[in-house]
Symmetry: C2
Subunit: 912 residues, 2 copies
């Protein structure tokens, strides 16, 4: 088994075996770029280690041989001689997991070689600092000594010497630090191995081990990276950016990762090691500065920018080090980018002829688009930033300030929106990123941990807001004389890097420019239609703007819930009198007709599927507890008024209750109490054990036929009026919760009769389709039968998932689903991504049986899954006609549908 | 199209065309029995009439030809001449619908022929009475004049003449009745048609029309008779049982329909028409009396008994009339019988060689057996009947007295058990039979409407309890000086015909004698295994007694709910402390182990599937409302005690709350209030929106692993102890609510570990199977996967039905399912009989996929459907290994399984 590959033995295609970093180091070696030489230990070796707990036999023999080659090529000896060869050991998995696994640098130094390094470099300070760094990393990574121990020792000397930064510590001070570090090893019961080969072997093993550390596992889970692929280990000759004035280290992107502009982007620190840039301890300079600082290096580096991007046909993120005037490229990888940049780069590279349209479309993850569609601060709003930082990840958000990742998780769990504020962030903080709406740090640059992770997650982030003074202990931060405490609300604008106190008004995003071009390409490729779930004129307009081809789900219960209608709805529910009920329904008819007119008018010429009333009636009444509290307040005040012989005092009532009382007289109280009592009785009558499976949807439509009749008439009348005004309204009527063919038949009779009446009265011909939600399991099973009545199907995958799993979504998400996800009993939340085994199978069954009966049956899906990319892939595969999702998910669905079509074509190609 | 068949043109196989009655009249004509001749109008004619609303063209031509044949054969002329031929017109569908449709007798009489009849018969009274009857029936049936109008006119004359019965009215009186009837016609704006052929045509049409009268529709729905088969109409020469002393009419059964004894059974009235027997107005004499009254007729009749039974190889129920010494048989049909009689006749006829074992087994409806398994009055209980009546339908029951069918329905709807008490019952009362637990009438015989219907429904009934004086207006009845008012509880024993005041203790039925022999035959034929749902030693013992081959479902939550365990269970739920929790689980372990020991011991050598805890934890706590009421009572009393400076008074508390307080001190109150407050908090924490789809079953088992671990250990330990005592316990462990393969995996790890520990500790080898309920839809869909872990499947078809329909059973049955059944939107309650389209398909999918993975997978069903015959047929067809049902349904399941096997064989035979 070959476990070790020299860089000149591999290439970019070998990522599975050599990891991303190793494969690219090999590729760059082939390209002739100045890569410090070394070798890669394969992921196979790691997998063997993980499964057996043992280093593979013969591995270290192969390492020795590769090391001998390296020594021969460099003319130096590892950890020995007058100019000792030093090595770095870095992890490198198939997929990038920045900062998640471990790295050890400067291997080969020991009490003896540190002197040789000092002589060879002519810089004792540098040599001691390098040794100090080795001791610190090795102690932390290989031997598990807490890194705070080393920070403390370093801090002590820094304070003693009055130094602000580590690089100001004196030679003597560094010697003391080394002594202190060694004492820390002893206190830990271990010793630093002086034998360089032992250092190397232990470091390789430590990197293997780090594959399964908790933060790496969390990262993999969040990013959908498999647990069983292991990491490769790259052993590479050390080059030093901290070897004095002619040295530097930096990180570069071939295009701007925030905006996507085609420009040389990056930053560097003079006389520093790479970790100093990433850790965000010193604030680095923009890359263009190198043209002045090191003109020759800049020329070589500029060429590398072009070569890399041309070679990979993709934006590259690479690290470089300048050691005494010599440029070295340490690694390259596909650069992470903001959504905005991803779209711009995809569109630009297509236009530049670097990539084709398929590649362009596959270059953006659909989920990324969401960020572009998020709100920004209203440009008209006056806003005074209290401070500024780097625009690390665009988008604006507001939230309450918290200072630890744990607090972010806890507060978020309580339903609060939070901004995580840190001096700097570390991989350990990853759970806090997940919980926070935005991230704000006082140190670090565009490539700091906070910036990289926030961009990857699509969360607004401001990094390096240096004016902030953060006091973790007091749970507050100050900027000038402004104090912001934990829990205070701030707004951060990651696009502009501005921090504001309080919550600012926001505006919605628009689709234009690059995004519009990109999505137009997606539209040319996709087969699935895209509709919107929208039940207000505003959301209908938004749907059109975002590219919806119709409304797949217009719920009518939200209209019932509107403040001006709810009292009528409640009156209807409570009414025992047929005449009264009819007159209330007339009022509701007028409301609903107006609603439908507006929406149909906006969606002129496009289909609008209106779902008849779905929720159980008790959802329109207050809860029992609310009513009991109201009654209690009313009765108490009435009793007091009686006892004291005065008029009851409305002002003594809680606000909500006081608003109910129109006048303060006792009669008003009596009347209101009687009315509330009667409502309470209705609530008890309507109460259900399992409302999700109760008296709702078509069941209600059948037992209370006047409601559906009113709704159907409102839809038809609105359409007839619009036709007369020269418009082209296309309403379709959808019946929810159907289980039995005869349920559809019964409502169909009302539908036919009412449409005929409206046609007769209005003199307008109407062609309104009649269809059904497929959201019960039985509906999928008897779909052939249902298609005998229904012109169209629309799958309600939320309810269908609940019924298939026997999981009540609310209860499951509150009680056991998160636990199931953590325990990996379930692969993700089936309410977010369609269950490919169970629910998808039922959808496919429903489609097949429905089309068997009616070839031209239109079949869509209008659950939340319609906006989830993985689910959209499943729906494409099942052969639906369209997906319908919330307006803000439409661009995501357009892209996901295009990608599904491309992948479908690709896998067909493979088969053929 | 041939619409009319003379009796000598048909035979018994032509029931679809001629109806049951017509086919049998033809068959008896062929047999040479003395059947008054006539002809049958086919069901096709009726169907045409129903669909077109028109009498089929040419129908009356064919009737005229058949009538001419009849006139020729009888030598008399229809409705003319000196001895006019008179006709009856009777309905007769494919399936017997006694009393549901209409009949007209004495057709052919008019103002002229009534005189001829008087002369020919020499009995003017008889002629007038016959005419009076024609006018009454024709008015009611053909012209829709309410029959009360005629009853009233008749009653007036009876009172004027001081006559007790109609047959005491004088000739002049009858003439006056006829005149009054004609006035009633005029008041109704119609006239009685004097033309006999017009009478006939209108009567035939009226019978057609009566197919769709409401009570016929209800009857068909209750009895599963299709609506589209129509009725035939039999036109037959009238013979008169009321032509004086040598005449009689009667109803006979070839065996005793109550007990099944092989004896000539029936009753007759001298000088009466058939309707007088059925209506129960006069109490008839037992059939054997004829031997004395009419010895020659008796001889001929006895022969007919034998001929009919031998010919049909089935117990016959036939009607006869003796006209002046001549016996006529008017119809025969398969006799309805009690369950007891059905079993005895099936067994006896098999032993007599009349039928084979298959026929014997098909002769009893499985549902009928339930009656034999119902409770009887404890023989040891002292009981003083207040009165006696006929043993019209066996079995005993108690309930509150109601006097109208409507009240029976209403009271039953309120959850009350009621006894319907009537002077006599009519087909209009059919809905009351459905709602009542038993029926009691003060008039009528064994073949009265009440008796026939009650037997068919398997409800206890006492008919003709003549000492009862029933006062509908006052809503009470008296017997001697005992007054029983509406709402009072009585016990009726239909087996012995005894009525008792109050509710008597009952005992359960035993399986022995005929039933045991019958079921043993069933066991030899069936393929399905039969197990019981039992979770107490008592029900396990009952299961064995009724023939269970194991326990298919032993729920453990009932054990948790037992009075002595519930406090521990609640303590466990409320406990926040791990140590405390562990100690409570130890207590519960001891309880459960003892439970399992007992049940496993009773079921020695038979499988016992124990289901791990299923319901959500909140089910073990009081409801919020209960707790709030308790808290309120406790706080109020504590406040009062404080204000008055006295010790709190337990006696002032409601009973339930008082019991909670162990001592009366203030501290006890404080402690209890604190405890209840903490329980209230837990209830709120555990509350769920849709508990049926919530945190229960395996979800609870995984998040609270110590509960399942305790239960598995209790099962295994109980088994180990029994093995050491030389027993053969066969427990199996079943996990509920499984949706995901990994849920089963997680519990399996605990299972394997605990079993291994018990094996190690006890030194006993245990082989305990591990299986899963299949009660979520997803479990059916991923059954192949589940069978990779599970040794057995048991379908929970109640939950599966809920999930498939998205019907919460409780809510559906309370809110809309009855409405759906009435509206015929659904074919019956899917919680009673398995939905053959949706749910049965899922079960079949689950079985197929499960067996694909594991050939020897044991598959059963343990929902309530396991005891429903139609569902058992479906399960047989799907190929399950067994059904499991409540002990009392086991005999039913045994028979249903046998019938399913026989029908399976038959349909296979047909295919081959």
């Amino acid at each position: 088994m070959k476990y070790v590959y020299r860089f000149d033995e591999g290439d970019a295609t070998m990522k599975d075996l050599l990891g991303g970093k190793g494969a690219n180091l090999a590729e760059m070696t082939r390209m002739g770029l100045p890569v410090p030489q070394g070798f890669t230990i394969t992921t196979k070796a790691c997998k063997e280690y993980i499964s057996t707990g043992q280093m593979p036999a013969r591995l270290m023999d192969q390492v020795s041989r590769a090391l001998a080659d390296l020594e021969r090529a460099s003319g130096r000896t590892f950890g020995a001689g007058s100019d000792p060869l030093l090595l770095s050991v870095r992890s490198g998995a198939r997929f990038s997991m920045p900062g998640m696994m471990d790295t050890v640098l400067n291997l080969g130094l020991n009490d003896a070689t540190v002197g040789a390094l000092a002589s060879a470099s002519g810089d004792e300070r540098f040599a001691l600092d390098s040794y100090r760094r080795l001791l610190q990393m090795f102690g932390d990574v290989v031997l598990g000594i807490e890194h705070e121990v080393f920070e403390e020792a370093l801090g002590t000397i820094r304070r003693e010497e009055g130094a602000d930064f580590d690089n100001e510590i004196s030679v003597a001070g560094l010697a003391e630090v080394i002594a202190a570090y060694k004492r820390a090893y002893s206190a830990h019961g271990v010793e630093f191995p002086q034998d360089p080969r032992r250092q190397l072997a232990l470091s390789i093993e430590a990197v293997f081990r780090s594959w399964d550390n908790p933060r790496a596992k969390t990262y993999r889970r969040l990013n959908g990276i498999p647990d069983d692929i292991g990491t490769a280990v790259n052993v590479q000759r050390m080059v030093f950016g901290n070897m004095g004035a002619g040295s530097a280290t930096g990180v570069a992107f071939t295009r701007n990762p925030a905006t996507g502009e085609r420009e040389r982007y990056g930053e560097y620190l003079l006389n520093a090691q790479g970790e100093d840039v990433v850790a965000g301890i010193r604030t680095p300079r923009p890359i263009a500065g190198l043209a002045e600082d090191m003109p020759e290096v800049w020329e070589r580096l500029s060429a590398a920018f072009d070569e890399l991007e041309r070679h990979y046909a993709e934006m590259q993120d690479f690290e470089f080090t300048v050691e005494r005037g010599h440029l070295h490229i340490l690694q390259t990888r596909t650069g992470k980018r903001t959504a905005q940049a991803a779209v711009k780069i995809a569109v630009d590279m297509l236009e530049e002829g670097l990539i084709d349209v398929e590649t362009s479309l596959m270059r953006v993850k659909p989920e990324q688009l969401e960020m572009l569609l998020h709100r920004q601060i209203d440009p008209k709003a006056k806003h005074d930033p209290v401070t500024r930082g780097l625009s690390a990840s665009p988008g604006a958000t507001a939230g309450q300030v918290v200072f630890t990742a744990d607090d972010a998780v806890e507060w978020n769990g309580e339903g609060k929106r939070v901004i995580l504020v840190r001096i700097e962030t570390k991989p350990d903080d990853i759970h806090g990123f997940d919980a926070a709406a935005g991230i704000l740090t006082s140190t670090g640059g565009m490539t700091s941990h906070a910036a990289v992770v926030a961009r990857a997650m699509g969360k607004p982030c401001i990094a390096g807001a240096e004016a902030l003074r953060i006091d973790y202990a007091a749970r507050r931060m100050t900027v000038g004389d402004i104090v912001i405490c934990e829990g205070d609300v701030v707004t951060i604008d990651g696009t502009r890097g501005e921090v504001m106190v309080g919550e600012l008004p926001m505006v919605e995003a628009k689709i234009s420019g690059d995004l519009a071009r990109f999505l137009a390409n997606a539209d040319r490729v996709r087969r699935l239609g895209i509709r919107a779930n929208a039940d207000t004129p505003e959301s209908a307009a938004k749907a059109i703007e975002f590219g919806a081809e119709g409304i797949g789900l217009c719920r009518t219960e939200r209209m019932f819930n509107a403040v001006d209608r709810l009292p009528s709805v409640q009156q209807m529910i409570l009414s025992k009198d047929a005449d009264e009920r009819r007159s209330i329904l007339d009022t509701l008819f007028a409301f609903q007709k107006a609603d439908f007119r507006e929406i149909l008018s906006i969606m002129d010429g496009k289909p609008v599927i209106v779902r008849l009333l779905d929720p159980p009636l008790h959802e329109f009444l207050p809860t029992r507890a609310e009513l009991e509290a109201e009654l209690d307040a009313l009765r108490t005040e009435r009793s007091l008024a009686r006892v004291h012989g005065r008029a009851p005092d409305v002002s003594s009532l809680p606000r909500g209750v006081a608003e109910l009382v129109s006048s303060g007289g006792l009669e008003a109280f009596d009347g209101l109490i009687a009315e509330r009592m009667s409502m309470l009785a209705s609530i008890e009558e309507l109460a259900e054990v399992n409302p999700m499976l109760g008296h709702r949807g078509v069941r209600l439509g059948i037992t209370h036929p006047d409601i559906y009749e009113m709704q159907i008439r409102a839809i038809a009348t609105a359409a007839a009026e619009l036709v007369r005004e020269g418009k082209d309204p296309r309403p379709e009527v959808m019946v929810p919760q159907v289980t039995l063919r005869r349920e559809l038949d019964v409502v169909k009779r009302t539908f036919d009769r009412v449409i005929a009446e409206v046609v007769r009265e209005s003199g307008v011909e109407l062609h309104i389709e009649y269809g059904t939600m497929i959201e019960t399991v039985r509906a999928c099973l008897v779909a052939e039968d249902l298609a005998g009545v229904a012109d169209f199907f629309s799958f309600g995958t939320n309810d269908l998932t609940q019924a298939t799993f026997s999981f009540s979504r609310e209860d499951a998400e509150a009680k056991f689903l998160p636990f199931y996800e953590t325990m990996e009993i379930i692969d993700g939340n089936p309410f977010q991504t369609l269950d490919p085994e169970g629910v998808a199978g039922l959808v496919a069954t429903g489609v097949k049986h429905g089309r068997k009966k009616r070839k031209d049956l239109t079949v869509g899906i209008c659950g939340e899954h319609g906006g989830d990319p993985a689910s959209v892939h499943l729906f494409h595969g099942i052969g639906l006609d369209y997906v319908s999702c919330s307006p803000f998910r439409i661009p995501i669905a357009r892209l996901a549908a295009a990608q599904a079509a491309l992948e479908g074509k690709r896998s067909k190609g493979k088969k053929a």
